[in-house]
Structure formats: C-alpha cells, structure tokens
C-alpha cells in the first residue's frame, strides 16, 4: 500500500503540465461545386472570346445547358459558326464546338445553314480529331428532321473517302456515319457501303472492327439486307481477342439467324449441309464458355431468342457425359429417372451407389464440347448470377415453344432451387411456373420441388403454390404428397393460409378423380365407425375441405362419400369463403339460404337513390328522416352485396352529406355561435368537420366515375368549403384567408373542369361564379357575404343516379396480418422498437405513393409511416399487396399491454387543402384527419413496452 501511495505521490509531483497554445478553431471548409449553367443563365456572350482557355469551359457549360430556348439558340449557333471558321483555334476547341453544334441543331432549317461550313472544315483541317468530329456532326446534321437526302449523300461520300484513313477514330466515325445513313434503295452506294463495312470487320484495330459490326447491325435494322459474308466474318470474330468485338459479332449472328434461318451452310469436311439457324445456335452455345462475363451473359440471353432451332440441337444443350476414371457414369438425374422407371431400389446403405459402370473408350470421349453440347448445363453452373439468370430466361423462352425441351429442363430447373442467390432461385421457380402447363412431373421430381415449400422466402413459396395450382399430377400418390406438403407448409408458415387455400382449390379442380380416391383418408371417414367431428376452426381441416369440395364439382361421386357434418361444414364454408368453395349440387337442406334468393340489390340501390331525388319539395323534417333511412340502408347494402359495395358506399356518403347539410343549415342561429348553447356549438362543429371529411373521402377514395358524377362530387366539395368559409367567418375570430384561398382555388378548378367536360353547373355554382366574377378583391368577409344567401337559397341537387354501379371503384384495404383478434403481446424494452409484420391487400388505390401506415398509440398520438416502395408489390390491376414490418416503439414503459391500432390510410396532405391545413394547424394541431382517408378498419395489436433493466 505504501508503495502504491508513494508511487502516486511521485507521479503527482512529477507531473508537468505543458500548456499548449490554444488551438486555432478548426475551420470548416465547405467544398462547393462549380455551378452548372442552366439554360436561363447561359448567355451567348461567354462564347465571344478567342482565348481557347476560356472558350473550352464555356463550351462545356453550353453542352450542359442544352436544350436551349429558341432565341438563344440562334445566337449561339452564330457564335459557334464563328469559332469553327477561325483558323487560329486549336483542334480541341474546334472539335468540341462541332460536338456542341451536333447537340444543338435538331431542325432541318438550322442544319442546312451550317452544313456546308461544317463540311468545309473537313477539307481544311489536318487534325484527325477534327475530321472525326466533322463526320460525326455532319452525320447527325443530315439526320435532322426531316432528312435531307442530298446532305446524306454528301456525308456518305465524305465518309467513304475517309475509310482509307489510318487513324482509328476517323475510321470509326466514318463507319458509324455510313451505317446510320445507308440508303434503303439498292444501288452502287449501298453496295459500296456494305462492302466497306464487311472489309473492315477484319481490320487490325478492334475498335474499328466493333464499329463495323455495329454499323452492319444498324443497316440491318433499317431493312438493308446485309451480305451473306457478314455471317461468316461474325463467326470468325467470335474468337476475337476483344470482348467488344465478340459482343457485336454475337448480335450479328442473332439477326442473321432471325432473317434467314433456313439457308443451308456446308459443314466443313463433309458433303452435308446444316440450317443456318442451327449453325448460329451452336455458335452461340460455344460462346457460353467465353472468358468474359459480359459476352457469356449476352450469349446466354440470345440463346432464347432463336426460335426455329432443330430438336436435335436443343436436346444437345442438356447433354453432359459424365465419366469417372474413364468409366461412364450416370448423372444424378439419370439415376433418379431410372429408379422410377425400372423400380430399382437403392439400398441407401452402400457407399458408391453411383459407382461408375462401363469402361469408356478413350477415343470416343470428347472433352471439348462441340456444337450446342451442354451449353445450358454450363450456363446454369456459371460463376456469375448474371449468366445464370440469362440462361434461365433463355430456357424459359425455349421451353414455352417446345414441350419436350421443357420436360428435359425440369431436372435442371429444380436443381437451381438450391442456388446460393435468392434472385436466381426465384427466377428458377418463376420459369418452372411458366412452363407448368407443358410438363408432367414424376413423383421424385415432385418431391424435390415440394421440398422448396419449406423455404422461408415468401415469394418462393407463393410461386410454388401457383405452380402446383397449374401443373397436372399423374398419380394418386403425387396428389397425396402434394397435399401433405402443403399442409406441412401451413403448419410451418401460417401466414400462407390464403395462398394455400387458392392453391388447393385449383388442385382439387384439376384432379377430381385422384382426389376422390383420397377423400376417405383425408377426412378420416371410416366405413363402419363414426369419427370425431373435426372443428371448423382447424386450418388444416379447412384446407382439406377446400380440396375435396372443389374436386366434388367435377366428380359428383364424391358427394355420397361425405358425412353429415362435412356437409354442414360445407354450408358454413360456403358462407364464410364463397370465392373458395363452389356451389355443389346438393339437396335443398344443405344450401345456404342466401344462394336461393334472387337478389335485387341493384334495383334496391337505384330505388333508394331515386327516393332521395324525389324529396325536393318536401318538408325539412321529412327529408332528414328519409336521408337517415336511406343512408343506413345503403350502408347495409354495401355489406350485403360485395359487387355493389363501392357504389353503395358512394351513394351512402353522398346522402350523408345531404343529411349533414340539412342538419347544419337547419340549426337555428348557426351563423351567430354566440347565441348557441355549448352543446349546440359542439354538435355544429362536429357536423361541419364530418361533412368536410365525408366530402374529402368522396372526392379522393372513389375512382372510375363518370364525368357527371365527378362533377357532382366536386361541386359538393365546393359547397362544403363554402359552408366552412361562411361558418368560420361568422363563428370564429381567426383569419379565414387560407380558407378563402382554398375555396377560390377549388371553385376555379371546378369551373375549368366543367367547361372542359362541357357540363353545366347547378344553380348554386352558377350563382357563385356570377358573384365571384363581379367581386373586385376576394377577401374572406366579402366572399362569405356572397356565399351565405346562396347556400341558403339553393338546395343541393340530389344524388345523381350512379350510371354503372358495378364500375365504381372504391379504394379499400384489408389487413390480413396481424389479425385483429390476436392475443399475442409484442413485448419490447421501452425506448427500443419492435417490428410487427404487416400483410395487407389494397384495391383500387389511385396513387400508391400516397399510401401510409397509420399507427395510433393509446395516448392518441399517431404516426404516419411511409411504407418502402419495394414492400408494395402489384398483384393485379390497381391491386397491391403490402408486405412490410411496422415498427412500434414507446419511450416509457407501460404497466400493462395496450392496444395499438394499425391502419392503412391515404395521405393526401401534399395534394390538397394545403391552405385549409394552414388554417387547421392553427386551430388544432394534432388532428390530421382532414387530409387522410381511412382504408378499412384499423387492426389492434397488443404492445407492452417494459422498463429497461438496468445493469446490463
């Protein structure tokens, strides 16, 4: 201890403090990038200089500023012409000027004026860079709209005269120019162009070779036939040292094979001939072994684009002879096939079950693959996912045209399920799904495929479900295997319920007789003994029922097999999930009653709407009562008939608005709130708010409306805003400027809309338009004074009868996961977050970017969460599926688990009512309900933030 103290004492004495000079404060240096000149700022004056050092940056700025406005353009062109005509400028300035010129001049009239000058530089200049740019620029000038054949001729002649140049850049530009300007009509020019291009495909410089091939492609695209020798030189170029040449050559081979597939080519060292398309296919196949990834990818992708390839060549692509120590060996696929076809059994206990069999003669083995041998096998084994993906795409394209090929590809596709990269796995399954209709699965293959159902990726499982729904199984055992795998899938991943239901429905429909054989086993029916009645809450039992009932539609012999309770369950399912369970031909007692009643919902809807319309002159009291009844009727109707739900909601909301208007306007003294009782004030305010919300919803949640309906909604909205304005002006002390602006904006928009659509405004609007046009300065007070009498005198036109009730779309959302009645408690440490997986389906959403997840905590604070774009996937026309994780958090711990409600909403705050919001944000800050639209019911989840344990 003493030692320590001593040490410490010494340490303290010995300590010397050297005081540094106060450090200069670190200066923050902000690097500001040079401003790029935008078009409005660019002035032609900067070009008015002869100093190359100033000119060059000015030219670069100009290049960035394109496109230019018309007046500047003329000025700039003049300046540029001045630059190129001066002989003193260095080559770099001239060529940059020419490049800029090519980008600016897009019209024929301008092009004509500068063309001659540009061409003349070509004669004067010694620099090859300038020369190259001259060709480039003049070529693009000659292509200005409309084309000028005379200019084009001149450019072609210039370019053709320059192909003897030794500078690659001049050559490349010349070849490009003659490629893009090649005339369509047959003649000496065309002939010399094709000849020039052809001879340059063997030029010493790789860039020139590439340009020659690309130009050949270009003229082929235009419809000029390219010489047959081009194909040969492209084949030779496949072994070029440079990948850009190989890439260009691949494309040439592809287009030639497309245009002239049946030409016969002699096979070297024999008298036989082969079709060009076959030859091209095998050439492409050999490039799948290329050294460069880019070339391999392109070759693999192009393989799928050749259509009429002979069967023989296609089959070869799967060919790979395996040998082990010079003995022939069967591949795993062959072994699997043999096991099924011959009934041979593997003991599973012996090592080297796959021991190589017969000896192979050394001469007969070819290790180098020739022709199309094994191209796809190789492509699928490639190191890079780009190549593998391209190969899969090609396989898909070819398999769709050729059932036998599809069957061959099956084994390999299944192998790809085991790829290390998910993207590839998914693609393999998608390919499989697409060819599902063409293949018949063997039991062992099915087993391998079903194994993938255990995958944790939702996409893969759902893809497989779709695949299983389309494919045709051949035996009872396969169906059984499939059903069992799906049930296991359900146990493992309960969230797949809906997808599995859909899948089983199709499986049942596709294999009625095979399912029949399984009915007793699946539903545990015993010939003598009565089994226990299964619970309809059991998800597996539901699945089985869906399968059996759907099979029973086609195979009526299943029906007598079913037990009484099964039929009762049928009635239940028919009620709860009508889209999954079909109508069976059963006795009356088993049919759910609703099916028999002929529904007149449509008529009812129309009558209800008409009833509202007839009320024009009735007393206020009566009107209110009728509105109320019609409103509640329509809401019920929406529940009853899903097909009319949107229309009914639409009509109901409209009626509700009428009702609210009536209520508000009939409130005595509504314009002088000081005379109202507290209760009345509250009710009035609530009604105004509700009216605003309802009209807002009408305006934004419904789509596919006819113009008349649209107009009536918009005018209703305007009327509501007018009411609000009047109410606020009279009732509160705050400024109503924002509201007034908002109202005027809407009114103007509506006016435009009406004139555009050629519709007439109703009496209220006419009055408003008239009065407003006479108003000198639209101040809130003045506007309100105009509106007040108009509001009171003009009654609202009743609901326009919905013209096509079935067509009206209402944006709605259904939250599938989490389920509302779930008892699970999400626990978290206070201050941290917990993720709740959300799975929802949104239909008829007008603009997906406005979708938000609204999280409402028990303390009434709400959050709007923007779901990531990638989590929202489109599943159908206007239908989206949102698969995301909602993050919940709380800063303090709660004493018990509380409900947090999650709902999907449309957030239109940035589209509409900005002005209104400005007003509202003054009055009540937290309320965002004015700018959002609830979609569907909120789901409540139990969340329990706990205290952070100290001392971790």
């Amino acid at each position: 201890m003493a030692a320590v103290l001593k040490k410490r004492a010494l340490a303290e004495y010995c300590q010397t403090i050297v005081e540094d000079a106060p450090r200069p404060a670190k200066r923050l240096q902000l690097v500001r990038r040079g401003r790029t000149v935008d078009q409005s700022e660019f002035t032609a004056a900067t070009l008015n200089s002869d100093d190359p050092e100033k000119l060059l940056p000015a030219l670069a700025d100009l290049h960035n500023a394109i496109p230019l406005t018309n007046e500047i353009q003329n000025q700039v062109i003049n300046e540029l012409m001045r630059i190129i005509q001066s002989d003193s400028q260095p080559a770099i300035v001239i060529s940059k000027t020419l490049a800029v010129l090519a980008a600016i001049v897009t019209t024929h009239t301008h092009a004509q004026s500068v063309f001659e000058d540009v061409m003349s530089i070509g004669q004067r200049s010694k620099s090859h860079k300038v020369l190259a740019q001259v060709i480039h620029t003049s070529c693009s000038l000659a292509q200005c709209d409309p084309c000028d054949p005379k200019m084009q001729d001149q450019v072609i002649h210039l370019a053709l005269s320059l192909v003897t140049s030794t500078k690659f850049i001049v050559l490349v530009r010349s070849l490009e120019a003659i490629g893009s300007l090649c005339p369509l009509e047959v003649g000496s020019v065309q002939a010399s162009i094709t000849h020039t291009l052809l001879t340059h495909t063997t030029h010493q410089d790789n860039r020139v070779r590439t340009a020659a091939f690309n130009s050949l492609l270009l003229i082929q695209d235009k419809g000029v036939p390219i010489p047959t020798e081009a194909y040969d030189s492209a084949c030779v170029a496949l072994s070029d040292d440079y990948q850009s040449v190989r890439e260009a050559a691949l494309l040439i081979i592809k287009v030639v094979a497309d245009t002239d597939p049946e030409r016969l080519l002699p096979i070297a060292a024999s008298d036989d001939h082969m079709r060009l398309v076959d030859h091209a296919f095998s050439q492409l196949c050999s490039v799948v072994h290329d050294i460069s990834v880019r070339v391999r990818t392109q070759a693999a992708a192009l393989l799928g684009t050749l259509n009429s390839v002979s069967e023989k060549f296609l089959q070869q692509t799967w060919d790979k002879k395996l040998i082990s120590n010079m003995r022939r060996k069967r591949s795993a696929h062959e072994r699997a096939r043999a096991m099924v076809s011959s009934g041979e059994w593997s003991t599973g206990k012996r090592w080297a079950d796959d021991a190589p069999k017969e000896q192979v003669a050394a001469e007969s083995v070819s290790i180098i693959s020739t022709g199309s041998c094994g191209a796809f096998v190789h492509g699928l084994e490639d190191e890079f996912l780009e190549v593998r993906n391209a190969t899969l795409d090609s396989i898909c394209a070819l398999a769709l045209n050729n059932a036998q090929f599809a069957n061959h590809s099956l084994d390999f596709l299944v192998d790809m399920f085991n790829d290390e990269i998910e993207e590839v796995r998914l693609k393999a399954i998608q390919v499989l799904q697409q060819v599902a209709g063409l293949v018949t699965l063997r039991a062992d293959q099915l087993e391998e495929i079903l194994h993938a159902l255990r995958d944790s990726s939702l996409d893969i499982r759902e893809c497989l479900h779709t695949f299983l729904a389309t494919t045709i199984l051949s035996t009872i055992s396969s169906v059984k295997l499939c059903v069992n795998a799906l049930l296991e899938n359900l146990r493992r991943y309960p969230q797949d319920r809906r997808s599995i239901h859909r899948c089983l429905r199709r499986v049942g429909m596709n294999h009625p007789t095979l399912v029949q054989a399984l009915v007793a086993e699946l539903l545990v029916i015993h010939p003598y003994f009565d089994g226990v009645e299964p619970s309809v809450q059991d998800p597996e039992y539901i699945c089985k029922l869906i399968l059996v009932l759907n099979a029973a539609v086609k195979c009526t012999t299943i029906l007598p097999l079913l037990e009484q309770h099964t039929l009762r369950h049928y009635a239940y399912l028919r009620d709860t999930m009508p889209q999954l369970v079909p109508v069976l031909k059963l006795g009356e007692e088993w049919q759910p009653s609703r099916v028999l009643v002929s529904t007149n919902t449509l008529q009812f809807l129309k009558e209800s709407v008409a009833r509202v319309g007839r009320l024009d002159r009735s007393s206020t009291q009566l009107r209110m009562t009728v509105y109320q009844t019609v409103y509640s009727d329509l809401i019920k109707l929406a529940d009853i008939d899903p097909s009319l739900s949107a229309a009914a909601h639409f009509a109901a909301s409209y009626t509700e608005c009428l009702l609210l208007f009536g209520k508000i306007l009939s409130t005595r003294n509504w314009l002088t709130p000081s005379l109202l009782s507290m209760q009345q004030t509250g009710a009035l305010k609530a009604n105004v708010d509700r009216l605003l919300r309802t009209t807002f919803r009408l305006r934004h949640a419904f789509t596919n409306l006819s113009p008349v309906e649209e107009a009536s909604i918009r005018s209703l909205r305007v009327r509501t805003l007018a009411l609000q304005l009047v109410y606020v002006v009279h009732g509160s002390t705050g400024s109503a400027l924002g509201l007034c602006d908002n109202f005027l904006e809407h009114t103007e928009a509506l006016h435009r809309y009406l004139t555009d659509e050629g519709l007439s405004a109703d009496s209220f609007l006419e009055g408003v338009f008239d009065e407003l046009s006479q108003l000198e300065e639209p101040r809130p007070g003045a506007v309100a004074r105009i509106l007040q009498p108009l509001l009171l005198t003009h009654t609202i036109p009743p609901v326009t009868p919905v013209l096509h009730p079935v067509q009206v779309h209402m944006c709605s959302a259904e939250i599938i996961e989490p389920q509302s009645d779930s008892e699970t408690i999400h626990k978290l440490s206070a201050g941290l977050v917990v993720g709740v997986p959300l799975d929802a389906e949104i239909t008829h959403i007008p603009d997906p970017s406005t979708l938000r997840v609204r999280v409402c905590y028990p303390d009434h604070c709400t959050q709007l969460v923007v779901p990531p774009r990638s989590h929202l996937r489109q599943v159908g026309e206007g239908t989206y599926r949102l698969l995301t994780t909602v993050l919940l958090s709380a800063q303090v711990s709660w004493s018990e688990a509380c409900h947090v409600s999650i709902s999907l909403v449309l957030d239109l705050s940035d589209q509409e009512v900005l002005a209104a919001r400005r007003h509202y944000s003054l009055t009540n800050k937290a309320d965002d309900s004015a700018t959002i639209i609830q979609l569907g019911k909120p789901v409540k989840v139990l969340v329990w933030p706990k205290t952070v344990r100290k001392g971790i």
Partner: protein, 643 residues
C-alpha cells in the same frame, strides 16, 4: 533454339507433393515447395541437393508458392532455414496468412505427437515467412530486370493462385491446383488470353467429368433436413481447412433459408483460427459472399456454434462438424461411437477415406465395427457419402487451355495413366505438344526464337500512310518471295556493323510485337528499310536515315538504254505517239509527258527522245529499283519501234 527446362522434383506423374524446377530464359524458378504426407523420413521433402552443388540462393532466382496446402508449401521452412535459401519467395496474401497456421499444426503433430527430431521449429517458420513477398491478383511483380510474375485467381482454396511467369519473350503459366467450377465460398479460376509458351497444369481429375454440384448439394441438404426433422443427429467428420468452411456456409445458409432452429456445432481449434482469416479475405471469395458481406459476413455463421464435449449427450437433433475427417481418432470417432447405434442418426463423409479407417469401413457398408479395446459398435445410423473436390475435371482443364491458348502443355500432379489420356486429348484437340515428365526427369520445351527489332517511327508512319500498290489486300505468301529476290543487290560492310538492305514484313499496327505467326494474320504490309545490327540490338530504319547514321554517301545505280528508232515525223509527234502507246499498255495515270522531248513513267523512269542524224533515238533510263518496269518499258518500245 532456346528451351524451357522443366524438372519436377515432386508431382511428376504423381499426386504426392508439388515441387517443380523450371529454367526459362536463363532464370531458375522453383514452383511450389511441398512435402509428401505419406512418408515420415527425409523422403517427404524434395531432394534439394539435386538442384545444384552450391548454395541454393545463388542458383534459384525465386520460389513461387501457389496455395497453402501442405503438399504445396510444406517443405518451405525446411528449404529456407535448414537447407539454406534466402532469395525471394512469392505468394498471395491469404496464403501467407494461412501457411504458417498449417505449418505450425503439422509441426506440432510431427514433433509433439510422433516425437520426431530434426524437424523445423516454430521460429524457423516465422523466419521463413519473413522472406515472403506477397503479390496481389493481376499485379505484375518485377522479380528482377527480366523476370516478371503475375498472379491469377485459381479457386481451389482461399488464396490459391495461378502464376504467369515471363522472361523476355518467353513465358509460362503455372496453375498450381485450380477449380473451374465455382463453389459455395470460392469463385472459378480465371485467366486471360496470355498465350504462354508453356502451360504447366495440374491433372488430378484427368479422366473425370463431373456432374453439376448443385444437384448433389441439394440431395445432401435434403437428407440432413429430413434427419434433423425426425429428431436425428448428424455427424460430419471433416479436416480443418477448406471443405469445412464450404460445408458450414452451405448448411448455415440453408438453415437461414429454411428457418431451422436445430443447432449446428463446430469444433474449435485450427478451424476457428482459419475462419478468422476467411473472414478477412472477402475479395478472394465468390460473388455471393462479396455481394453480401457489407450486410453480413458469410463467415460469421449465424447458426454454427462452438462445440463442447458435453453436448454429445444432449437430447434432440443437432448437426456436428468434428475432426478428424476419416473417423480414425479423436473427437469425431468418440461422437460416432456414441451415436452409431441409433438408426435415426446420420453420418456424412465429405471426402475420401484411407483403407483401414472407420470411415472407410462404414462407407463400405460394415454393420459392426470392432475397436482395439475389444469393444464394438453396431452401425445403425445411415451413412452418406458426398465428395466435395475442388480440382478442375477434364472439361475444366481443357477449358483453361482453351482460354489461355498456350503453345505447349505440361501435365503434373496426377496419375500417369490418367495423364496419358488427357495428353492424347490435348494433342488431338488443340494440335499442340503436351509433356508429362516423371519426377527427376527433365522436359525440354523448345520455343521459337523471336528477334525483337526496333523500327524507327518515321519509317513506320511512312509505310502505313502509303497505300499498298495492289488493290486487293496483299497476300503475304505471294508478295514476299517476289520482293525478296530484289533484295540482295548491294551489301556494305563496315566494322562492327552489318548493314543489309532488307524487306521485312511487319504486322500492321505493330502493337502485337513482331511475333505474328500464331496470332491472327492481319493485313500485312511490305516495309522497305535497312536492318542495322549493332551491339546486339536490332533496328530497322529508313534508307536515308541509315545513310546519315552510318556516314555513307548514297550511290544511285541507273541503267540507261538507247534505242534507235526509225521515225520520219518531228519529235513531238513521236513523243505523243509514244505517250499514247505507253498509256495504252501501262495505264494513263502512269505516263506523263514532261515536255516535248521527255516522258516520265511512274515518276521515276524517264524516257528521252533525241533527234539523231539518221533517225531518232529513244533513251530510257531507270534506277535499279525499277528494274522490272524499265525492262517492260524497253520491251514495249522495242517491239513497237524496232528497226
């Protein structure tokens, strides 16, 4: 003719150890320095005394180690520290990191378990590693002025590389061990079209063409999955490096994909140390790992946990990786004994098993295994075999040859019979020579001599700019002989300088070097110049340049011929008549009238017409370069105006 000499000190027609001595362009290089794992005496190391009498450092220019397997680097400390070599040693970064780990492990086994003496020590390993110079992929390292080496990715194991070695114009590629198909953690070998004179390739699987790996992997994974699903335990006996990492990744990602919760255990020790390095050298792994490592390093296994002996007794399913790989001793055998009786369990043998080991017995279907201490175990568990080999198969070897286009191939690291087959195939398919020397046997590979000549730039530019006289692209085969006949006209000898007027053909563009016999034949051009050989350098310069440089005054050789012509009219008419005749025969562009008395043909031959007393004389004069044209002209004039 220069030669490349290759002498395998190991790996010649066998797979035991790799150690190859190469002499190329006067440089002596040792490729790999492995030890034989089968021997315990001095036979395990290469016979270094064979190399040279004197000290190794003077003789060898460098050592190149392709990867960290002991049969490729095991003898390195012995050579550097005990035999004595202090020259440069080249290897890649991961190899340098992992090599000492393995060497140390082997040393421990040899010295501490087997009790060997006369073995290198830990400090020797460290000293040896200090001499190592690391190379990065595709980095060209200049060993000395003439010798340069460049590494290419080889797959096989982490850090394995192929080396391109160049001395002057001669070059060779040594592949080491390589793999042309990617696996779960490494990519495929890649090389560019370097066209070496010699390719030294391994040939372990010379007579095998393998099935797709994916299918086998899927099979294995399904079996493991089914086994743990029914509550069984899976034992995977492995060796510490290479395959374990691959299997771990395979299972780890599969566990992730399938959402499995069953524990996977992994014995600590050497493999754990190795994992640390695997985590660091992400750039050497395959596409998947490289793409995802920012998100998560694949070697930070999510589901693989360290194993403790007590876990053996735990109930419930589990997967265990245990060493050693052939079930002959240690932990893996202990676990096997415990689990063998239960038919729910499974053992997966991921590699080859030597005869006599438990692994070999169970692979052959033994139902009961007896041990030394009179105990025996019933084998009820299922036995699976899955070979994960990281060598290129025959197709892969051929593909590599096709990619790099060598002029000769030399096979090592394989069995003689198998090599013979592959050798035949290579000679047949590529039409190139193939060698397979045995250990201690020297293969001499003759390479073509390339003389590099410097061509002066103005000459080159001038030649490229002038269009070739013939309209069609000239065929070098036909042009060359005719032009060479005109070459040896004058020869001038000055002390120490030989000057010869010559015509050389160059590949146009000249960027490919002078050697164009094996490359694509491009448009060729005839170059007219003077070849100057001076101080062992070759230069081709323009004629005038050469004159200036050598201080020789130019002489011009002219032939003049007089032809007496019988012609009545005045001279101009004769001139114009001659003009039309010649223009008709030679083409209008060639013939030009200079004045009334003079014509010029092709700018060089002049034809003068004189008024002589009896008749007229035509005087034709040409330089010796225009011999052919002059002769032709003479003929024409003679036949037309002959007396």
């Amino acid at each position: 003719m220069p030669e490349i000499k290759v002498t395998p000190l190991g790996a010649g027609q066998d797979v035991g150890r790799s150690c190859i001595l190469v002499t190329i362009g006067g440089k002596n290089i040792m490729l790999d320095c492995g030890m034989h794992m089968g021997y315990n005496d001095e036979r395990r190391f290469p016979d270094f005394s064979y190399i040279t009498e004197g000290p190794l450092t003077d003789y060898l220019d460098c050592i190149i180690i392709s990867h960290f397997h002991l049969d490729h680097c095991g003898a390195l400390p012995f050579m550097t520290e005990m035999v004595g070599y202090s020259g440069p040693i080249y290897m890649t970064h991961p190899t340098k990191a992992l090599c000492p780990v393995l060497l140390e492990d082997m040393r421990k086994v040899a010295v501490e378990r087997k009790g060997e003496t006369n073995f290198f020590t830990s400090s020797m390993i460290k000293d040896c590693m200090k001499k190592v110079i690391t190379v990065s992929l595709h980095e060209t390292v200049q060993v000395d002025k003439e010798l340069e080496i460049k590494a290419y990715y080889a797959g096989h194991v982490l850090g394995a590389a192929m080396f391109h070695i160049r001395v002057g114009a001669q070059s060779l590629v040594y592949t080491g061990d390589y793999n042309m198909t990617p696996d779960r953690h490494l990519g495929a070998a890649w090389i560019d079209k370097c066209r070496p004179d010699l390719l030294i390739s391994e040939s372990t699987y010379a007579t095998t063409i393998r099935d797709s790996k994916r299918c086998r992997e899927r099979d294995l994974l399904k079996k493991v999955h089914d086994c743990v699903e029914r509550g069984g335990k899976v034992l995977i006996p492995v060796f510490a490096l290479g395959r374990v990492q691959e299997l771990c990744i395979l299972l780890d990602t599969y566990w992730d994909r399938m959402n499995l919760k069953v524990p996977i255990y992994f014995t600590m020790g050497l493999a754990e140390t190795a994992n640390k390095y695997y985590r660091m050298f992400i750039t050497w792994t395959n596409q998947k790992i490289r793409r995802t490592f920012v998100h998560r390093n694949m070697f930070d296994f999510k589901h693989v946990k360290p194993f403790d002996k007590s876990y053996m007794e735990n109930p419930g399913p589990m997967v265990v990786f245990a060493t050693p790989g052939m079930l002959h001793a240690g932990l893996s055998l202990a676990i096997f004994k415990k689990w063998a009786h239960n038919s729910n369990n499974m053992v997966i043998m991921p590699g080859y098993c030597v005869q006599g080991t438990v692994g070999h017995k169970i692979l052959n279907g033994a139902k009961k295994i007896d041990f030394e201490n009179r105990t025996s175990v019933e084998v009820n568990l299922s036995v699976e075999y899955m070979s994960f080999s990281a060598h290129a198969d025959a197709k892969g070897i051929m593909q590599l040859i096709r990619h790099c286009e060598p002029h000769n191939v030399l096979l090592v690291h394989g069995e003689n019979v198998k090599m013979e087959f592959l050798k035949q195939k290579i000679m047949q398919e590529f039409n190139i020579n193939c060698y397979k020397p045995a250990n201690g046997e020297t293969a001499l590979i003759s390479v073509p001599t390339n003389m590099e000549a410097e061509v002066s730039l103005p000459l080159l530019k001038h030649t490229l700019a002038t269009p070739t006289p013939t309209m069609t692209p000239p065929n070098p085969a036909t042009i060359a002989p005719t032009t060479t006949t005109t070459t040896t006209t004058t020869s001038l000898t000055t002390p120490n300088t030989t000057m010869a007027r010559s015509l050389t053909t160059t590949p146009a563009g000249g960027h490919e070097g002078v050697d164009n016999t094996h490359t694509r034949v491009k448009k060729q051009k005839v170059l007219h110049g003077v070849l100057i050989m001076k101080n062992s350098s070759l230069r081709v310069v323009g004629v005038n340049e050469a004159w200036g440089e050598l201080g020789v005054s130019p002489h011009q050789l002219r032939f003049t011929e007089r032809i007496e012509v019988d012609h009545g009219g005045p001279v101009p008419t004769l001139t114009s008549a001659l003009h039309t005749v010649l223009a008709g025969k030679l083409g209008g562009a060639m013939v030009q009238a200079v004045n009334e008395y003079q014509l010029s043909v092709a700018d060089t031959v002049c034809v003068n017409i004189h008024e002589d007393d009896p008749g007229k004389t035509i005087l034709v004069s040409w330089t010796h370069q225009d011999e052919a044209l002059g002769g032709k002209l003479l003929d024409i004039i003679r036949t037309t105006y002959a007396k």
